[in-house]
Amino acid sequence: MIVCPNCSRDNEDHYKFCLGCGTELARAPRPVAPTVLPQAVPIKLPGLNPLGAHAPAVDLPRSVKPTLIDASGPRFDPEPTPATHSVDPTPAVDPVPPVHDVAPPVVLSASDGDELPFDLSTDGEASHGAVAAAAAAAALSVAATATTEAPEPVPAPTSAADALPFEPATEDGLTVAHAPLTEAERETAEASTAVVGAALYDAMVTTPEDARLCSTCGTAVPEGFKFCGVCGGRYDGRSRAPAAAPFVPPAVEVTPAPAQLVVIHPDGSEGATFPLNATETTVGRAHPSPLFADDPFLSPRHATFYFGKNQLFARDEGSLNGIFIRIKAEVELFHGDLFRIGQQLLRFEELAQVRPVLPGAGDGTMVMGSPVRGAWGRLSSVVAINTPASVWVLRRAEEGLGRERGEITFPDDGFVSGAHCKVVTRDGRFFLQDTGSTNGTYLRVKAEAILSQGDLVLLGQQLFRVDLKT
């Protein structure tokens, strides 16, 4: 257990961030060293929760409700405790202006609008104003596709306005840095949101002379945006540069690989790339690349990527933690499916297929219990291998999951959006829908799946974006 220096909460040894307040935790001795890893190799855990931290916000601005500006309420403490810095110095945190310590990227969850049930803020009045201003700026930058510099009218310090959505000040990637706005700020913010709306976005991206194209997926990137709104790739300033050079260390590649995996860091930035060759590539802890060898959450042989029928497939090699892919809109759910939202690993079960735990008597006596009353499924929170803890019963045609709203709530999980996803039944089938969550909903691949350009794939604790080069 690691005791959080900020809120004194106990956290599991492998957590990088406090479950209660999001403060980065001092690295504890690694739990049970995997055999293949020499103890000396430092584990590069990208974050407590890749889902929460990594996922680039790919939402288009139309998904942002203007009401998000009104979001007021407690927020996570945007200032990491000193312990943070000593542990992992990688993403630079500017210690001087407190505004820098605000994490704008994830303000999409501000659109969830609700107050967190706990207020972990410890900063005083002084930083309060700065936080509010930064929150306003952040909200605006989200409104403009999560990738813009704040528009003019924002009364935020330039430093905050310049902060890129994927470069949060707190390296913990905590998502909710919103604060009560002053009346003036709110008005400005609302006005700006209206301007930088969906229509404007469309106008911006369709202007031909502005054709700044994403080098990764070819989507037009509006002026002023630094990241592609579709795939989250960083705009490198060139028009449709053939994907390449800056991303792939040339030494690694002998022949151009038809696809690659790009590490998405907890702060949303891109990291190393891993080429996928034209035949097949098996990754896992046994792979020589430190990208995989250092992740104790990968099985030795975890997943295989291969091309078939001109498509890229990912096959689960019977791994413990599997392959999770971020869902788009809606996917069908089947009995036993696993999915992740925020830090939660959830298992869906069709009630009719759940085995009774109480045996009957064999003399015709039925087991007494609560009436089922139309219940059709269950969701369990999986806390250990094959071990459910909490279980929720699904009864309505649509059951919402979220941090604050919905029938099933996770008030303690800052990586879950206010209204995150839905589990739905219709015509005797079951579906999982993402309802505009910031950090996405990830479904575990059964056997194998076809990957598309820009898919976000979770392997072990790391999040990768799929880049197809054709």
């Binding site: 939660q344 006596t365 009436p371 250990a384 291998i385």
Partner: protein, 261 residues
């Protein structure tokens, strides 16, 4: 017609019958000879008796009384003086109402679903104990959730966070499936129709705030919050009954009336 009293239930049985028509108890062939010169009763119901059960809610026989005038009275689906052949939640031989030193007891005869008694004061439950609120059946689980977090090849399992929990309140569905598993951080769990920790808006028999469970390390206390229909706990082994006690046997709700002491 000459009648004799059934030794089991006290009913009047014609002498030539070999079994009591009320409870099925075998009748000894009466000794030959002249009928005893004593005044016969009009019926067993006329006797004051010691106690009776009144069916409050059941299968179309609401209000029926079962006089407990014999030494013991079996309730069940197939045998006994108190028969509910249509209730599949009753075991063939479900419970026994009997007297011991003049006091009335109920004993669970190893029934699958047991006998539930309405709480008059908070009850202390242990791991695995069950209770009823409205139509909902719950089980208390106080054991720690155990599970591996590392596989045989030393891969760490990437699971949901595992908060320290006080225990679990588990809903049991008819048929034996597990429903809701509520694992709170803090020990107090309220159950009711609305605005409780566990809400059952479609249960017509549950009160707004029906009962509260306080989970502790090795025990849990269940307290009825003056609910309209009461909170019931399962009788372990046998238990003395008092006037005004309410019992659930399967779907049958019975009230105990002690008429003489």
């Amino acid at each position: 017609m000459a009648m004799v009293d059934c030794p089991s239930c006290g009913a009047q049985v014609p002498v030539e019958h070999r079994f009591c028509g009320r409870c099925g108890h075998p009748m000894k062939p009466s000794a030959p000879g002249p009928a005893p010169a004593q005044t016969a009763f009009f019926g067993a119901m006329q006797s004051v008796g010691k106690a009776k059960l009144i069916l409050i809610r059941g299968e179309g026989m609401d209000g029926v009384s079962y006089h407990l005038n014999a030494a013991e009275h079996i309730a069940g689906r197939k045998s006994g003086a108190i028969l509910f052949p249509e209730d599949n939640y009753l075991s063939p031989r479900h419970a026994n109402f009997f007297y011991e030193q003049g006091r009335l007891y109920v004993r669970d005869e190893g029934a699958l679903n047991g006998v539930f008694i309405r709480l008059k004061e908070p009850a202390v439950l242990e791991d695995g104990d069950v209770f009823l609120a409205g139509e909902e059946l719950f089980r208390i689980e106080l054991r720690e959730v155990v599970g591996e977090t590392t596989s045989a090849d030393h891969t760490h399992f990437f699971a949901s966070p595992r908060p320290a929990i006080a225990g679990r309140v588990v809903q049991v569905f008819e048929g034996g499936r597990t429903g809701i598993v509520h694992a709170p951080r803090e020990g107090a769990v309220t159950i009711g129709r609305e605005q409780c920790a566990l809400n059952f808006p479609n249960d017509r028999f549950i009160s707004g705030r029906h009962c509260r469970v306080d989970l502790a390390t090795t025990t849990a206390t269940v307290t009825d919050l003056q609910s309209r229909n009461g909170t019931y706990v399962r009788v372990k082994g046998q238990r003395e009954l008092a006037h005004g006690d309410y019992l659930f046997l399967g779907r049958q709700l019975l009230r105990v009336e002690i008429t003489a002491t």
